[in-house]
């Protein structure tokens, strides 16, 4: 009896995890990435003041790891066909961020102005994608 319950729970769990991701599930990693993009911009501004280098580099490394984790999470989701383009857009927009964070983490004083502006523009686009998914 116990084995049968375990089997049903196991099959149910496997089917649950294999089902296509819907709007609300896709919005979670996109929201994380949106937040990380804006935080990267804030940290870059802070780095521009030329203070607390050790803090900036260590926090940038934490941020780079979080961005990589959120991107992995987004990559692993299998969205419904109509949401595939949204996922692809979010992955494409956030693609340079982990490298940008790693660059700050490696001790660079500040990102190039064009690169910082690109991060903000991409984060705003992710915000729009997230809002559309939550509507």
């Amino acid at each position: 009896m116990f084995a049968a319950i375990l089997l049903v729970v196991g099959i149910g769990g496997a089917l649950w995890f294999q089902r296509p991701a819907h709007e609300d599930e896709l919005a979670i990693p996109i929201g994380e990435l949106r937040s990380q993009g804006f935080e990267l911009k804030l940290l870059n501004d802070y780095a521009g003041r030329g203070r607390d280098r050790r803090f900036v580099t260590a926090h940038a490394r934490h941020l780079a790891q979080s961005i990589a984790r959120a991107r992995d999470e987004l990559t692993s989701l299998q969205p419904t066909p109509q949401l595939a383009a949204t996922r692809a857009a979010a992955l494409q927009r956030s693609a340079p961020w982990a490298d940008a964070a790693a660059q700050l983490g490696a001790g660079d004083a500040q990102l190039a102005p064009a690169s910082a502006a690109q991060i903000v523009a991409a984060a705003e686009q992710l915000q729009a994608l997230e809002d559309a998914l939550k509507r």
Partner: protein, 412 residues
């Protein structure tokens, strides 16, 4: 000075309970998502934890009996054992998150590798708890945690609309909330209530009162300690909600790392703010790590009837000493796997709500019993508040898991 110093037990308990790593991100994110609409939950939970810590402290002063000794006596062995296991898991997970949080903070200050710093944190905690008398643990971490006041200064400096802040203390749904937002709001409300009324605060506080050798004459002191400590903790929690609403919302950032919270203080007050915030978080997280490890050891020793207390030499209470060392080692092992400390504590906060009714009912039952407590038994007000909060946490316990699943662990 002696009596005044007792206040640090309240401050340490409150700081370790209100501003540990999970609560820090929870309050900041609560403010970021719902602005001031959750402030009433901070107030509600604060009064609740004051009511139950006051009762537990009074029982400790009058009967010299701690919470888990009451649980075994009142709930019986089986229900008591279930509570012990659940409370130990919650304590272990919370301790793991705090040890991880301390290592993350040290990394922000030193840039050294995370796993090496986790091992350093393990040695630091074992040496501190082994070699420092209980009173000095209270004073050092209680006083150090006061550096978190930088967030109160930040909240005032952000110049919020105080009328809106005041409105947040009146229960209401956030403006324009749809079905999903309402679920998220309910999840945050239950989780915030749970995190403020975390059961380990009561276990630690009552055991601390016994460690500090409170007597029936200290019942008034107990009330003062509870009121000052938890009012300070609640003010800090409310300030973090304001910082979430006024700093992180306009920046569209959902704070998920201790460094993010420090960045807000650094952005406002330059290097001084940054380092005061990092140091304050260190004392608060370290205080919570010690509180949870000792709570787990107190609970086990009190349930099993072993000798316990930091005033005893390890050879006089060997199983108690072994228990808190094992908790620190296991907690370090959990975060060594690479799991995110903030996620660990958010899970433990939600699941701890299930332990709350089982932990608090025996405290209420003894505190109101005139046969046991004599003239120190609950008055009508304490009884009404005690029953009200017991009903409230029972409802929260029933709602916690469904809300956790429905909101993807509060993520959306």
């Amino acid at each position: 000075m002696g009596k005044l110093a007792e206040v640090f037990l309240g401050i340490l308990t409150a700081m370790g309970g209100f501003v540990e790593i999970g609560e820090l991100t929870f309050t900041l994110n609560g403010g970021r998502r719902f602005e001031y609409a959750l402030l009433w939950v901070v107030l509600l939970g604060t009064v609740g934890i004051m009511v139950y810590c006051e009762m537990a402290g009074r029982i400790a002063a009058v009967k010299h009996q701690a919470v888990f000794s009451l649980i075994r006596e009142r709930d019986g062995f089986s229900a008591g054992l279930l509570t012990l296991v659940a409370a130990s898991i919650v304590n272990l997970l919370t301790c793991a998150a705090e040890v991880g949080g301390v290592a993350l903070l040290w990394q922000l200050l030193s840039g050294w590798p995370y796993r090496g710093l986790l091992l350093a944190a393990l040695f630091f905690f074992v040496i501190v708890v082994w070699s420092t008398p209980f009173k000095w643990i209270e004073r050092i971490f209680g006083l150090g945690g006061l550096l978190m006041i930088v967030f109160i200064v930040a909240a005032v400096g952000l110049d919020p609309d105080w009328r809106s802040v005041g409105t947040g203390f009146v229960p209401s749904l956030p403006q324009g909330a749809g079905g999903r937002d309402t679920l998220m709001y309910a999840f945050y409300g239950v989780a915030l209530l749970s995190s403020i009324m975390l059961p380990y605060e009561t276990y630690f506080y009552a055991s601390g009162g016994i460690e500090d050798r409170w007597k029936p004459a200290d019942v008034t002191l107990n009330r003062v300690v509870v009121i000052i400590g938890f009012t300070l903790g609640a003010t800090l929690a409310a300030a973090l909600v304001v910082v979430g609403a006024e700093f992180f919302k306009p920046h569209s950032i959902d704070p998920a790392l201790p460094g993010t919270a420090a960045l807000a203080a650094g952005d406002m007050f330059a290097s001084v703010g940054l380092y005061v915030a990092l140091l304050g978080m260190f004392f608060a997280f370290a205080g919570a790590a010690i509180e949870t490890a000792l709570s787990a050891a107190y609970n086990l020793a009190q349930f099993a009837g072993w000798p316990w207390g930091l005033d005893k030499r390890p050879r006089e209470a060997p199983r108690f000493a072994l228990a808190w060392i094992v908790v620190f080692v296991l907690a370090t092992g959990v975060v060594m796997t690479g799991i995110d400390p903030v996620s660990v504590v958010e899970y433990s906060i939600v699941f701890s709500v299930v332990v709350l009714p089982l932990s608090y009912f025996p405290v209420l039952a003894v505190a109101r019993d005139r046969g046991i407590m004599g003239p120190y038994a609950n008055g009508p007000m304490a009884n009404v508040l005690g029953w009200f909060y017991l009903a409230l946490i029972t409802v929260a316990a029933l709602a916690a898991i469904p809300l956790f699943v429905a909101t993807h662990a509060g993520q959306g």
